[in-house]
Symmetry: D2
Subunit: 343 residues, 4 copies
């Protein structure tokens, strides 16, 4: 059994990770840390009573490294940077949920976030999206878990920029997100139930800080620089992202459906919808799946592609477990075969 430790266990990413790890057959959770120490996880989350009686410890990398062999850091950008650096230095395997090590450029990072506390480590972790970096992740000891918007957007767009099938300067992405994306600690008027219910609202224009991730990864797939226009909006669902990608086709007759089916032929967690089908976030809620679909606007010579994901599973904690599986030599899907409820 792999001994794992979790920092930031009581955030939405942390508790989702616990849900998956508690039923993972190869894993034993031996350490959980939170700001509020000495409390049972079920004190934060009553639904876990009788399910998870782990008690929170202080955030202490050395202690964590003694008790565990794989460390997850489920913290906001900038908060755990130094701890992640220390954890990597212990030689233990590490997955970081923050944005701190996703971007390969310190400069770009500092344009969107604060000053980086461990710039030397930037660029050393593969971007934890197995669909694009499986072999890198398999060989890695340290991985940067992708953001939620980028997961839906990149996987929806990647087959288009491969050859490329589209004009790389034409990409526009509209991404609708459920409100759990703000996390458990961003308790403010905007997320106050009476204000957040029954409305759809644009936000974070014109350059959401997830944009450079999307650009970095699509550029990597394309082998050329890709810049995108990205417009996020908030919709009153708890979980789920629908990213819609628009781009101008280079060849208006390209077989888009086949391109998607081939690109994702061997992927366990990407389901290419049949021609004519369109995705709905509820279909992937609670699971590690991303459903993608593609169709063509013949009149304008454009492709419209869609990706849906659960922002906390494949958009965060599920992706982290998928990376852990690869890094530790487990079957990639282990512990991720949860079936979601309907309705």
């Amino acid at each position: 059994m792999l001994r794992v430790g979790v920092f930031g266990a009581a955030g939405y990413g942390g508790v989702e990770l616990l849900r998956l790890l508690l039923r993972h057959p190869e894993v034993e959770i031996t350490y959980v840390a939170e700001l509020q120490t000495g409390r049972r996880i079920s004190d934060f989350y009553p639904h876990l009573r009788d399910v998870c009686d782990l008690v929170t410890d202080e955030s202490d990398v050395a202690e964590a490294a003694r008790r565990a062999d794989f460390l997850f850091f489920c913290l906001q950008p900038g908060v755990g940077t130094a701890m992640v650096r220390d954890a990597v230095a212990t030689g233990k395997k590490v997955a970081d949920f923050s944005a701190d090590f996703r971007l390969k450029s310190v400069e770009v990072y500092e344009q969107h976030y604060d000053k980086h506390a461990a710039p030397d480590l930037v660029g050393t972790a593969p971007y934890g999206m197995p669909e694009l970096h499986r072999e890198e992740i398999r060989g890695a000891d340290f991985v940067a878990v992708p953001g939620c918007h980028p997961t839906a957007a990149i996987l929806a767009a990647a087959p288009l920029v491969k050859e490329p099938l589209v004009d790389l300067s034409s990409i526009v992405i509209d991404s609708k997100t459920g409100i759990s994306g703000v996390g458990r600690s961003h308790i403010n008027l905007l997320n106050h139930y009476p204000e957040a219910a029954e409305t759809v609202a644009a936000y974070a224009m014109p350059r959401h800080r997830h944009v450079p991730e999307i650009e970095q990864e699509l550029s990597c797939v394309a082998g050329a620089e890709v810049k995108v226009t990205f417009a996020p909006s908030r919709v009153p669902v708890v979980r789920g992202i629908l990213a819609t990608v628009f781009a101008t086709l280079r060849d208006p007759d390209a077989d888009l459906q086949s391109a998607y089916e081939e690109f994702y032929a061997d992927e366990p967690f990407v389901r290419v919808m049949r021609a004519g089908e369109l995705p709905s976030t509820k279909h992937v809620s609670g699971t590690n799946y991303v459903d993608v679909a593609v169709c063509r606007d013949d009149v304008c010579g454009r492709v419209v592609a869609f990706g849906v994901t659960d922002n906390i599973v494949k958009g965060l904690s599920g992706a982290a477990v998928q990376c852990m599986n690869l890094m530790c030599g487990f079957d990639e899907t282990t512990g991720l075969d949860v079936i979601n409820v309907w309705p």
Copy 2:
């Protein structure tokens, strides 16, 4: 007092129209028709008990024309076409909610809907959007009320195509709609509460039948042909549309904020948000307002514009009342100064 009649009074468009007309100081409702006759409106809508005791009549244009001077047809496309033709022939004033007379081309209509039952009348009604066709509407006896997606999309995009500020072939629109847009009679699995709640879903790709309306009107503003790629999605709110418009700027330094403020300077129902503000559908819910906002993605040289509307008020029945006000010489805002609740 203007005597008005309403066909299709028990649909969502009809009952919203009744709400507005019942408080309109210049209007008296003298005739309401529905498939189920002899029933009080409050039998269909218990919330209107003690508020509206009108009783439904058979749909009979001649009788309606005897009893009323302005006739509203709140029916699905194709259903009331012949009645509308007959109503127009009586010389009474007419507003049609269906899509039947919005498009100027029978051919385009028949590509998206069924065979047209009154092709001779096509092109005779102004498109009922005062912001673009005020003088035409003022002089008209027959008006075609715009669709809900087009209202948000056209008003968000119009200032961009005017000069134009953008490459006219670059326009992409992503439009999120609440579920009341399906109407009261489309009771199916997709709109069954347990299936429609907690999900965001793409639909009607690649050419929603509202697209030709958007193209017709933007072409009219631009004075040149405009084609758009349009992707609608359904979100679990009852009312509201957020349309997001993307386009490539011709001049990357154009003063977009001023362009919007000037374009809508004299409009009573379009509010241009201040620079940096972004719209939320709840801000216009229940009202005839459209809030529009514009911002620039400097990296890509693109503009992103937004429009929010209540799909049943400014997106349908409120627009109809606004047209009626113009056609009958009332102040344009009469009866439309309702204030929405918050939250």
Copy 3:
């Protein structure tokens, strides 16, 4: 025109009051106060842009009394007590939204709230429910606006305790409330959208602080002491309360429907549903109506009665306007004939 002033204008009760007063034909708003001064109401509530450009002043009773003849205090219990006392002392008319002057007993008040800051004034204001205290309110200069749960519960139960039709010791009330009841300033984890959505939860057991109000008023109607068991729950709607009242019938054959119809025969805002009909909060949302229904469980010899209300309209601000109308000699329904949207 009556000049009115509003303290606490930017809370949910305040903004709802503004909505009603702005369209009230006999009223002019001449003073609004908030903690954050010098700001337009539309800075707090963007949906009011171009609708209400009032600017917030400091909370100053003397200044308010110079500028207005009727003062509304829309503040939390205990916050504005001293100001209310000062306002009453100016001889101006006053309506208080807090719970401070609803209870006739300082002792009972202090069991449920903090120490009372103006005990001398306790008992001087009629309980602002015209259905029970119309004449008192008409003659009053100072009124205590009822709470939201009590409005639904008292009006659902009152006809039962009148004669009484039920065993007065048998009354049990289960009250389901939308989340706007917490107000705009109670921004906490419980009301964080991802936690409040998709759940129904019990709270405030066993003695919600609204219970003494219910007991006081039902005792008053009964002419005998009434105690009730009250269980509130939170449901994920923005607005609305459904109170369900259970009691044992003294005469199992009593004509309950007639009793309700007679009790409320002359009430403009209480709609007794027809026998067999059951209420839904959406039917009264945004309006000053309370819909009540009554039915009998013959097997157990019990009555079950229901009341639905919009917690911010008839449950707060609408009731206040209704009282103002009575206190100022306007028709009781003036400014309250708003029609709600559907759906």
Copy 4:
């Protein structure tokens, strides 16, 4: 591996059962039947694509009995009665989801449902609630799965009627249910998203057909006849029931908390909340847990008890699996240790 067959596989009860059975380590699904035959389960439920490729067969008891050893009938009351009788006659083990065999009295059944098609079989199946009938179920070949409202109500009330702690004639139950309770086939205006959202509504008064089940089981626990008044309401959540039970205490000083803790001391799926805690349906959503809480209204000498359940898991399909585990000698919790997502 136990071979199981499912009739009515594409309803909400059926698909929830599949979710649980597909991950049950002792079970293999060898037969699924639906009205629409020859279709993959994932054609009905796209979220199950790549998860469940079972194909629907005709409903044929003989064939089912050849292919499976345990048969689940997930059908509406009256629909599958004859098939259930035939299935029981084959000697295979059977669990019936309908109400047909829950009541021990044909007469009572026919007061609430239609004429019974297999009256001879009535009374032969234990009521499938292991908390009350574990040994009976263990020895049975045929079990009647409890209804959703009764599950929450009975388990909330059972410890009270045991001794009894309460006056057995004083029990009142208010039960709030999510909308999935109507099933997938009841697609009507009431459940149309725009009408069902944002409202709380009473329904099925005064004698919901689940009442006799509740009375039968509480009478059984009490060893005396129990009649209850029951008022259900619909709230806009997809899943979840909160039942609130009110009753008059015989001994006002009874130790209610201990009574509950003792009553459920050995139950794997009933969690007694700590004194002062109150339940929320989200805490049990997706799981087989029932959370119960109890508190006292000292003023009135009443107890208020609460039970929350997921209406499709413990309220239906999870209970069926729990029964199957007992009937087949598996550990009772096998396959039911799913952890729910948060939020």
